[in-house]
């Protein structure tokens, strides 16, 4: 019985993680396409007085900022995942031992 409860709790946690993860991945994919081009045309018109070279540098910098954001976010999420499920497992093991 406690084994089944553990499996269903794990599935519920997986579903919660999955919906958030898919949304975040789609956001990053769209940002990787939209942010550099928007930065290129935006900085070309408003910041650099139609100098294309500086606008291209700004666009490449923006694309790399999106990349670094993804890397940092995936590392932080991995650390949060390592600490959270171990707390749940400890509760399950304590309930098993008390029985």
């Amino acid at each position: 019985m406690s084994g089944q409860a553990q499996v269903s709790a794990a599935k519920a946690a997986d579903n919660m993680i999955k919906t958030g993860v898919v949304f975040r991945l789609v956001t990053f994919a769209v940002a990787l396409g939209v942010v550099p081009i928007a930065t290129f045309y935006g900085t070309k018109s408003y910041f650099f007085n139609d100098n294309s070279t500086y606008a291209a540098i700004a666009a490449v910098t923006a694309a790399n900022v999106v990349l670094v954001t993804y890397i940092v976010q995936s590392v932080l999420e991995d650390r949060a995942q390592v600490t959270a499920p171990s707390g749940q497992n400890r509760n399950m093991e304590d309930s098993k031992k008390s029985q």
Partner: protein, 161 residues
């Protein structure tokens, strides 16, 4: 033999398309090869998938480099203005340098992403090494983009007659 022949825009547009095409070929190879690695580790350790997607995102950046150079070159092409053969060759060189370096970078990212992601499930400390190798691979594409930018800046004020 004039400075601005009628076939000069051919080279300009060849530069535009080669920047986009070759960098996309590199990014596609990188994405697919890294995706093979992720599909390999997915059944065994699904919690590592988000970190294993980093090579795929880096391949996307290579395609973005090609896109930025294409947009940059297209901005200089105008049928109402004079377009010299010199400017055409500059644009061709810029497009080819960005495109083919992107092809090389995407190839490297794909192979490294596949192997390192498969090693990551056995040894977690490989992650930092993987990110460093991927950064070095991506910088190859960045070098091509820098040369494309420097080349493109030389097309200012080339008179026809």
């Amino acid at each position: 033999m004039s400075v601005c022949p009628a076939y000069a825009p051919f080279f300009g547009f060849a530069g535009v398309s080669s920047a986009m095409i070759f960098s996309t070929v590199g990014a596609a190879f990188g994405t697919s090869k890294a995706g093979i690695g992720i599909a390999g580790i997915g059944p065994f350790k699904p919690e590592l998938i988000m970190k294993s997607l980093i090579p795929v995102v880096m391949s996307g950046i290579i395609a973005v480099y090609g896109l930025v150079v294409s947009v940059l070159i297209v901005g200089d092409l105008n049928p109402q203005l004079d377009y010299s053969l010199f400017a055409g060759f500059i644009h061709l060189a810029a497009g080819l340098s960005c495109g083919l370096t992107g092809l090389a970078a995407g190839y490297a990212i794909g192979i490294v992403g596949d192997s390192c992601v498969r090693a990551y499930i056995y040894q977690g400390k490989i992650f930092v090494g993987m990110v460093l190798i991927l950064i070095f691979a991506e910088v190859l594409g960045l070098y091509g983009l820098i040369i494309a930018l420097i080349l493109n800046a030389k097309t200012k004020d080339i008179p026809c007659s």
